[in-house]
């Protein structure tokens, strides 16, 4: 057991799989000697060699395409994209190939690869370094999309992602990389890849969030508790396949639902959750659903970032609004 940050937990999970599965290899820009721009792969090239922790040329499309070729030939590549804003050049390989190789060949070739990338804003990073493209990836049939919210979940979910026989996109909330430490047991125990976690139990309203936003939701819940509003907070964790049962069960109990999403509002993943509740949990609802989202604007640079990101105040405002309704 060790007190680890989220990025350290990622490092442990990678090391664990490199050690226990000779088919696993890492590839990405600057992941070798430098240990990645966030140090997620720190020390791994030294420990496992340059043949298993591979520095690539600067070409995300080629990295993703090569990972597909490796995966089809029996390796388990774990590629790092430096920031999720640089996933876009790899989208074609992800959507047209990685996600469908198994289906296209009726199971003859498979694509057990993981794409890791830091995700989201909140760290006053430069332009294009604060994107949240998870909805696009979750929309893609054949991909799994996972976003951990704590060191322990990062560790367990990343193990599961690497072991999964199909492609998994694993988006690590940049703002949580070093925000807090948590006891993590480095015992190789994976977490399930199809489960939403109830992070806080409550009676009055269901808050649904993932990644960095989970902590804003929890903070809002804390502050609302002082007003006598008892929030249940759900960490989606695996966006696809989505464990809608856990969400619906909670909404059935509380009758109210506020979804928090850092990405731009329109057609974000929060819309999917809202749609499911409207389809299958309508009769539980005592008040209209609410979404607290990034606005439909370009992610601003650092000075306006705080105006964009869902804040505790905005979340609490939405919860109060939903409590007043009906």
């Amino acid at each position: 057991m060790a007190e680890l940050t989220l990025v350290e937990a990622v490092n442990r999970a990678l090391a664990h799989e490199l050690e226990h599965d000779p088919a696993v290899l890492l590839l990405g820009e600057d992941i070798g000697v430098n240990g990645g721009v966030f140090r997620a792969t720190l020390g791994l090239q030294q420990r496992f060699g340059a043949a298993r922790v591979v520095d690539t040329p600067l070409a995300e499309a080629a990295i993703a395409g090569a990972a597909i070729g490796m995966a089809a030939m029996g390796l388990k590549p774990v590629m790092e994209i430096q920031f999720s804003g640089f996933i876009y050049p790899a989208m074609d390989q992800l959507i047209n190939h990685a996600s469908r190789l198994r289906n296209r060949t009726r199971g003859r070739l498979t694509c057990p690869m993981v794409l890791r990338a830091p995700n989201g804003g909140g760290i006053h990073a430069p332009e294009h370094h604060s994107e949240s493209p998870e909805a696009m990836l979750a929309h893609t049939p054949g991909l799994r999309v996972v976003i951990p919210s704590s060191p322990a979940r990062a560790y367990g979910l990343l193990l599961a992602a690497i072991r999964d026989p199909d492609p998994v996109v694993f988006l690590e909330p940049t703002r949580l990389y070093r925000l807090f430490k948590q006891d993590v047991v480095d015992d190789g125990e994976a977490l399930p890849l199809d489960t939403c976690f109830v992070s806080r139990e409550g009676r009055d309203v269901t808050l649904v969030a993932w990644g960095g936003m989970l902590h804003e939701a929890l903070a809002a819940a804390d502050s609302l508790a002082q007003e006598g509003v008892d929030c249940e907070v759900i960490d989606v964790a695996t966006l696809k396949p989505l464990d809608s049962e856990t969400i619906l069960r909670s909404v059935e109990k509380t009758g109210r639902c506020v979804i928090v999403q850092e990405a731009a509002r329109t057609a974000g993943f929060g819309a999917e959750i809202a749609a499911i509740v409207a389809e299958r949990g309508l009769y539980s609802l005592l008040a209209p659903l609410e979404r607290v989202c990034g606005y439909d604007v370009v992610m601003p640079l650092a000075r306006l970032e705080g105006q964009y990101l869902p804040s505790v105040a905005r979340i609490a405002g939405a919860v109060r609004h939903t409590m007043e309704a009906a």
């Binding site: 070409a59 080629a62 395409g65 090569a66 070729g69 030939m73 390989q93 296209r104 199909d166």
Partner: protein, 361 residues
């Protein structure tokens, strides 16, 4: 001060369009058994190809991409590969695929609109046909890297078109392969057209082989209608890769004698007269002239081969036409190793409507 670096792209042809052999041709490149094998494989490809087009014309097959006139390329490449090597083909490379073991039935099933057509019984590890142009080069690079990392003496081969060399994927993957020195051979079927776009609107380069210079790998240009030179170049590149010598880019000069696909009408954008002229350089007749002249091939053998091919094709067509469609379940069964619980509802919805005529399968 002015110092510099120089590069050279060689061009190879052994057999002229008239069937005359260049005296410099290496002996091992003209082994009779080898040439007869190439010849038979090309004829088989062409027989299949013609039938597939006929099927499409009569509504029995979906869109199909003919390899007419370009048979030497795929056949030469496949004949230079070992079964354990890996091929990442484009949609026009059934010549190579058939020789590697993909069946005609499988190819027909694919173009008939059925994913089982990519579930090759042999070779299990080749990539399926690649439609997004250029993307397969990265798959082959990755496969080659896997071979190298595991110390396997296997080679990955990707085939793409002249148009494909304009894509970023082609270049960035080749550059990566060059960097890593992996056992990769990339073959460009330069058939002079990307649908209606002529070769000169794809690139201002004198050759496509010189694109290798940008990746720091060897590039060579070959007459892709000369099966002898093509086979020789493919073998050299593949064996170099196997021996650890790194990637090679081969530009195979050819000409697309047919339409781009059955959905295309090439008379809209190119002069049939030029096509007729180019047809005179096609690879099968060329090799036959040579084989005839050397007494290696007779009229009788030709008749028998034509017969065998026709019979094989007919059998394949019959088997293809007799293949019932999959049920709705196939869409779900092969998406993941195990269907997520959350998709159970969708599976049930599809099942419900499958029986109510919700589909046309």
């Amino acid at each position: 001060m002015n110092a510099g670096v120089s590069f050279r792209i060689d061009f190879f042809r052994f057999l002229s369009a008239e069937g005359d052999l260049d005296p410099s041709t290496p002996a091992e490149a003209i082994e009779p058994e080898l040439l007869l094998g190439l010849y038979r494989a090309m004829a088989r490809t062409r027989a299949y190809d013609g039938k597939a087009i006929a099927l499409q014309r009569t509504g029995k097959l979906g869109t199909f991409a003919s390899s007419l006139g370009q048979e030497a390329i795929g056949v030469a490449v496949a004949s230079a590969m070992r079964s354990e090597d890996m091929l990442a083909p484009s949609y026009r490379d059934h010549g190579a695929q058939l020789l590697r073991g993909m069946t005609m039935v499988e190819n027909l099933v694919y173009w008939g609109g059925d994913e089982r057509g990519s579930d090759y019984a042999v070779p299990r590890h080749d990539f399926p046909i690649c439609v997004p142009v250029g993307t397969q080069v990265a798959h082959a690079t990755g496969a080659a890297c896997a071979f190298k990392l595991r110390g396997e003496k296997r080679v990955a081969v990707a085939i793409l078109g002249d148009g494909g060399t304009s894509t970023g994927d082609f270049y960035s993957a080749l550059n990566m392969a060059g960097c890593w020195g992996v056992p990769l051979v990339v073959v460009v079927n330069n058939n002079q057209w990307a649908i209606s776009t002529p070769r000169e609107l794809e690139s201002a380069t004198a050759t496509l082989a010189q694109k290798a210079v940008a990746a720091g790998v060897e590039g060579r240009q070959v007459d892709g209608n000369d099966a002898i030179a093509m086979r020789h170049a493919a073998r050299l590149a593949i064996e170099k890769a196997r021996a650890g010598g790194g990637p090679t880019l081969i530009e195979a000069l050819s000409y697309r004698l047919g339409d781009h696909t059955t959905a295309d009408d090439a008379t809209r954008y190119r002069d049939p007269e030029i096509v007729r002229r180019e047809a005179a350089k096609e690879p099968i007749g060329r090799l036959r002239k040579y084989l005839n002249a050397r007494g290696l091939w007779s009229e009788e053998q030709e008749r028998r081969l034509a017969n065998d091919c026709a019979e094989e094709v007919e059998r394949a067509v019959a088997a293809y036409l007799a293949t019932p469609p999959e049920t709705f379940a196939a869409m779900f069964d092969h998406l993941f190793a195990r269907l997520p619980e959350s998709m159970r509802d969708q599976y049930e919805e599809a099942r419900r409507f499958a029986s109510k005529g919700g589909g046309d399968g």
